[in-house]
């Protein structure tokens, strides 16, 4: 097994991909922990999979489609959707601004 040492830059890059902001002590902790896991999962490289097909699911179902029409039973009215929220304005959920100016 090859020793894996993720750097602080690696962790910051992964955190960015993950949409996570990390505190300094978290960076240190995840550096160690993720390095050890990645070292462990590298053991799959021992297996020859050249002639093996990938499995992304195991049901063997394909092309499960539904009729293209509105199903009232699986839709909520805006009143139902908003019924339990603490933060709404008229017919909308009210959230913090994402784009400013």
């Amino acid at each position: 097994m090859t020793k894996k040492n993720l750097t602080k830059e690696d962790i910051l890059h992964i955190a960015k991909l993950s949409n996570l902001k990390l505190a300094d002590e978290e960076i240190e902790m995840f550096k160690k922990q993720l390095s050890s896991v990645i070292e462990y999962i590298d053991k799959l490289q021992e297996i020859d999979t050249e002639k093996v097909e990938p499995s992304s699911q195991i049901t063997e179902l394909t092309d499960v489609l539904r009729e293209d029409r509105l199903d009232d039973k699986r839709t909520l009215t805006s009143g139902q959707a908003l019924a339990n929220t603490k933060s709404k304005e008229e017919q909308f959920f009210k959230v913090k601004a994402i784009l400013i100016d």
Binding site: K21, F30, N84
Partner: protein, 439 residues
């Protein structure tokens, strides 16, 4: 009344005969909860008012129509629902603080089916946040304790459901099983846990961990009760396109039949030297009983077992990183810094294994290893009818802290269970060790 001694079968018969009422049954649940749950922390939310309302309604129904049990096979059965299950107007947190005040506007398909079958929801149970864990310690709330020994974990991630059934707060606990989360709490709390075959039970409305692995199971006191609940939860759901259009059998009718000639396989890779002697001996004792009943036992091999854990630790975090990306602080609850350390670790690991330059080496490779693991199982099921293996290599362990050590998951303890997960086969966990192993 001693609810701890009752099964679904007993309760149905006694409700029909008028020995006690739904109301008395629900009262007993809440007496037990009030006496114990401050110490055990099985519940995150109680549904007391609604539960009594339902109980009264059902008591009236039983009085006016004794045939109602044919229509509602679980009438009056108190149930504890894992907090990953979406429940209409009842708080649903997934054990996480991110959605700590989420009151969903709809029910999961399974919840709807159970409610239509007559269950009474007692409350929502504690769990490792988002289902990430095997002890219950990764909850964002107070961790659940094992009712048999408060210094031990109840097993996770369906920790509260296992504990609730064990101490008599409900007769059924619902769970989700991605890598052992029903089987472990069932095993550690001396109960019967079922991880159904993937596609058998709808995932719609159950908060997703890893969508191609998640299965919707449950924990009960007896095998009969477990089969009875599956008769209600199983089946095709047009809201979950991964459910299979296969007929739902009357599983309870299959029980108790002659097993003469049944071929049992023992996967040799699961009986490792780390296996606790007490666990091993109790399995051997159970096998002797099965042999006496006419089954034949044969050692078989699942050669890729040793790689299952590594494949799991690529595929599952990859799916987690995608599923948890929706919790962005805009559409749901709190912002992402409120994720616990375990969720952050898994999201980051998944983002890494899916990222540009690493996808082929990790994710694609693991999907191919998954094929090999699946083939291992297909090959042995040509030779044997069922497999018998330990749920875990030991009994419940003692530590109450969130370790944050990923190394912990790479031990033998998890890898055997996870092997069964990657392949999609079901696994029925029965408490073979109850009498033998004092916790």
């Amino acid at each position: 009344m001693d609810l701890l001694g009752l099964t679904i079968k007993d309760v149905s018969e006694k409700l029909q005969a008028g020995v006690f009422s739904c109301r008395e049954l629900v009262e007993e649940c809440f007496v037990n909860i009030k006496r114990n749950d401050k110490k055990i922390n099985a519940f995150l939310t109680l549904n007391e008012k609604e539960a009594f309302k339902k109980a009264n309604e059902y008591d009236d129904l039983i009085k006016s129509n004794k045939e109602i049990f044919n229509k509602k096979p679980l009438l009056g059965i108190p149930i504890a629902v894992k907090d990953l299950y979406t429940t209409k107007d009842l708080r649903t947190t997934a054990g996480s603080k991110i959605i700590g005040d989420y009151y969903p506007p709809f029910d999961a398909t399974v919840v709807k089916k159970l409610v239509n079958a007559g269950v009474i929801i007692i409350g929502k149970t504690n769990a490792d946040a988002w289902g990430h864990g095997s002890s219950g310690e990764n909850t964002d709330y107070e961790p659940t304790r094992n009712p048999y020994d408060l210094s031990r974990v109840p097993g996770g991630s369906s920790s509260g459901s296992g504990a609730a059934v064990a101490y008599g707060a409900a007769l059924v606990g619902t769970g989700t099983d991605t890598g052992s989360s029903v089987r472990l709490p069932a095993g550690y709390c001396n109960l019967v846990g079922l991880k159904p075959t993937y596609g058998r039970v709808s995932r719609y409305g159950v908060i997703a961990m890893a969508s191609s692995f998640d299965t919707i199971g449950h924990i009960t006191r007896t095998v009969y009760d477990n089969a009875k609940v599956l008769e209600v939860t199983a089946g095709l759901d047009t809201y979950d396109s991964t459910t299979v259009p296969e007929k739902v059998s009357q599983y309870t009718k299959i029980l108790g039949q002659n097993i003469k000639g049944l071929k049992i396989g023992l996967p040799k890779e699961y009986f490792v030297k780390e296996l606790d002697n007490k666990v091993n001996n109790s399995i051997k004792d159970s096998l002797k009983i099965l042999e006496k009943l006419g089954a034949t036992i044969k050692e078989i091999s699942l050669p890729h077992t040793n790689y299952a854990m590594a494949a799991y630790y690529i595929l599952v975090p990859s799916e987690i990183s995608s599923n948890l990306s929706r919790y962005d602080g805009v559409r749901y609850g709190q912002t992402r810094e409120h994720f616990g350390a375990e969720a952050k670790r898994r999201i980051m690991l998944g983002s890494y294994t899916l990222s540009s330059g690493y996808y082929d080496a990790y994710y694609l490779k693991a999907t191919k290893v998954r094929t090999l693991i699946k083939q291992d199982f297909e090959n042995v099921f040509d030779k044997v009818d069922v497999l018998v293996a330990p749920t875990s290599s030991d009994v419940s362990f003692r530590h109450f802290f969130v370790s944050g050590q990923l190394g912990r998951y790479t031990g033998i303890k998890c890898s055997k269970r996870i092997c069964r997960r990657s392949s999609g086969w079901d696994a029925d966990n029965r408490p073979a060790i109850f009498r033998r192993v004092a916790l």
